[in-house]
């Protein structure tokens, strides 16, 4: 009796589709307008993608690129020397001043030097730490260490900078005084998590068996590091260095707090916006770190590191 049972199913009849056209060919999306919209979007994947991306694209386009463009354009304006009013005429005068005045070259070079020193110090401190976290610690300890690295990021930047000011002041715990060295130390401290986390992630992705294989083939620690660990985590190191380098290059607060009388690019920008009331010149100075970062990105791109990020 199987055959009869199959052709006339007992139980409730199928629910009638509202506004039902003949089922099958004509009505692929039964249900309310929301269902129809969902079905429509499902069938038009490119439209779905552009709808999802519209908000972030708008943000990137207007807020970020727009602001950057505005900065470049205003860098080509000038202020009236007597009235201090903005003169909206295109001129290279700001850039000429930047390139010819000795003081700005010194400050630019000093800023790059500080950023490079901070990056190097962070790398030297972060790598062993990230290695211990990713390869030596137990899974439980690993979780705690990640939290420990992240915790300082939850504290205010100013609090941390002032803490260092207290530490470094002549009658403070360290008592080393203020200046460029103090700036480098404080910035290294502030940006250290940004170096540890990418390297930690890179080392996590590095299979333990590769380290064991190197040891198995006769390589000791240093050789394993040089020939296996370093080349395979280099992209992660580059990612970390982009953070530490660009954050240091743009900083002007730390140097104000612990830098003594030394000045970095950020201070020049800040002083021209405030005290000197020369917005176009500030914009021109601000293009310098942007160009340096672009050059840095171009350089690391050549190593192929960016493809692996």
């Amino acid at each position: 009796m199987n055959t009869t049972a199959n052709t006339t199913p007992p139980g409730p009849p199928p629910p009638a589709a509202p506004g039902a056209a003949p089922r099958g060919a004509a009505a692929p999306a039964p249900g309310g307008p929301r269902r129809r919209l969902a079905a429509f979007l499902h069938r038009h994947a490119p439209l779905r993608l552009s709808l999802l991306l519209s908000a972030p694209m708008l943000w990137l386009g207007v807020a970020y690129l727009g602001a950057l463009a505005a900065m470049f354009i205003s860098a080509l304006w000038r202020t009236d020397t007597f009235t201090g009013d903005l003169v909206r005429e295109l001129t290279w005068a700001n850039f000429q001043e930047l390139l010819t005045a000795e003081v700005y070259r010194t400050i630019a070079l000093r800023s790059v030097g500080v950023a490079a020193a901070v990056t190097l110090i962070d790398l030297v401190v972060a790598f062993p730490m990230a290695f211990a976290m990713a390869k030596l610690a137990s899974p439980r300890a690993q979780r705690w260490l990640v939290i420990a690295v992240l915790t300082p990021l939850w504290a205010s930047y100013l609090v941390k900078a002032y803490a260092w000011r207290v530490l470094l002041s002549a009658d403070g715990l360290l008592g080393w005084g203020y200046g460029l060295t103090a700036t480098i130390i404080t910035l290294s401290y502030l940006w250290l998590p940004y170096m540890i986390l990418p390297i930690y992630a890179g080392l996590e992705r590095l299979p333990n068996s590769l380290l064991e294989a190197a040891g198995d083939l006769g390589a000791r620690g240093w050789r394993t590091f040089r020939t296996v660990v370093w080349p395979l985590t280099f992209p992660a190191v580059v990612a970390g260095s982009i953070f530490t380098f660009s954050l240091s290059l743009g900083d002007y607060i730390t140097v104000k707090i612990v830098g003594g009388r030394s000045q970095l690019i950020g201070n020049v920008v800040y002083d021209n916006i405030g005290a000197a009331n020369n917005l176009p010149f500030a914009a021109a100075v601000a293009t310098v770190p942007v160009l340096i970062m672009l050059a840095y990105l171009a350089a690391v791109r050549r190593t192929g590191a960016l493809e692996n990020l």
Binding site: P207, S209, L210, E212, A213, A214, G215, D216, L217, G218, A219, R220, R223, T227, V228, P231, L232
Partner: protein, 342 residues
């Protein structure tokens, strides 16, 4: 008698409260193809890792060629490993991978190149020197890993589930190939597997692991035909146990006994039984047609069930399927039944 290639004495390893290896003694002779067989978690891989030097034993010693290496680092031991995931260096070419061990040992450039190319030739990978591991298939990667280890001419080659990641066809090919490579180079091969067929077909001797101990060591034939415990009988092949009252009724003796499925003959109830044979009657409850052979599950009248494997020499699938539910007699030669020590 020279020292064995590998000697393990009283080897134990605990990870916290987990006792992975609970006392292993093994001698592996020079030039032997030796398998450590067992289910996952039986401790076989931990033993391999202790021989390689990746783990330090909690107690016991590891000797290589008579020298105690228990406390030595991996790079101080004359062994090389083929890893389960191959662990090829992804940023190096195939040739650089194979040359790595020689470069570390400062072998001169010309000799290094020559030996690496010879090793690649021995695993049939000529012409792949410049490729990156990412551009190779699973089987090719496996052979690069083999060449990278063999090129160092270690005293012992350790292989951790070497064929586990390959598909069936490739695995069968590599089984034959590994065996012939081992015969060629004459190096002791010690490999870990959970695949009983792989262990039986490739090795000279097999150690069956269970719960951190070695249950039995022997040639594949010994392991298969004369398993010393119910675990070995069950893990290596189908256990087919006859015990208790059924053993009394069918065999006329006390204890637990086992017969391998392919040793059983499925016959009609009226078939004559030889004096050197034992037999039991029962009902076919399940018929599993598997191409070249058919498996019959037979519920014995005396209690218990036996599985019989019959080659499909003269019969078709239709014939065997119709046997379900019929009454049969299972017949086997007495020398094929063996007692199981519990």
């Amino acid at each position: 008698m020279s020292d064995p290639a590998v000697r393990l004495s009283g080897l134990r390893k605990s990870f916290g409260a987990v006792h992975a290896v609970t006392g292993v003694d093994l001698d592996i002779a020079d030039g032997e193809f030796f398998a450590m067989l067992g289910p996952s978690g039986s401790g076989k891989t931990t033993v391999l890792r202790m021989i390689a030097g990746f783990e330090t034993p909690t107690s016991g010693t590891v000797e290589l060629g008579g020298a105690d290496v228990t406390r030595l680092a991996p790079f101080e031991r004359d062994v090389n490993t083929v890893f389960q995931d191959y662990a090829l260096f992804p940023h190096m070419s195939v040739l650089d991978n194979v040359e790595y061990g020689l470069r570390v040992k400062r072998v001169p450039r010309a000799e290094r190149r020559e030996r690496a190319l010879a090793a690649l030739a021995s695993v049939r990978l000529e012409g792949y020197e410049r490729r990156r591991p990412g551009q190779l298939s699973g089987g090719q990667r496996q052979r690069v890993a083999l060449a990278r280890a063999l090129v160092n001419r270690p005293r012992v080659l350790l292989l951790d589930e070497p064929l586990g990641a390959l598909d069936l066809k490739l695995r069968e090919e590599m089984q034959v190939e590994l065996k012939s490579i081992q015969r060629e180079v004459g190096i002791t091969f010690l490999f870990v597997t959970h695949d009983q067929e792989e262990a039986l077909t490739m090795s000279d001797r097999v150690a069956v692991f269970n719960e951190g101990r070695v249950e039995q060591v022997g040639t594949p034939a010994e392991i298969y035909e004369r398993p010393s415990s119910a675990f070995v009988a069950g893990f290596v092949g189908t256990s087919n146990l006859i015990s208790g009252e059924a053993a009394q009724a069918v065999l006329g003796k006390e204890g637990t006994f086992s017969v391998r499925p392919e040793k059983l003959r499925v016959t009609g109830l009226g078939e004559p039984v030889d004096g050197a044979e034992h037999s039991a009657t029962g009902t076919v409850s399940e018929v599993v047609y598997a191409g070249p052979a058919t498996r019959f599950v037979v519920e014995l009248d005396a209690g218990g069930r036996l599985i019989a494997l019959q080659q499909n020499l003269q019969v078709s699938s239709m014939d065997v399927m119709s046997l379900r539910g019929t009454r049969v007699r299972l017949v086997w030669h007495r020398r094929h039944e063996f007692a199981i020590v519990s």
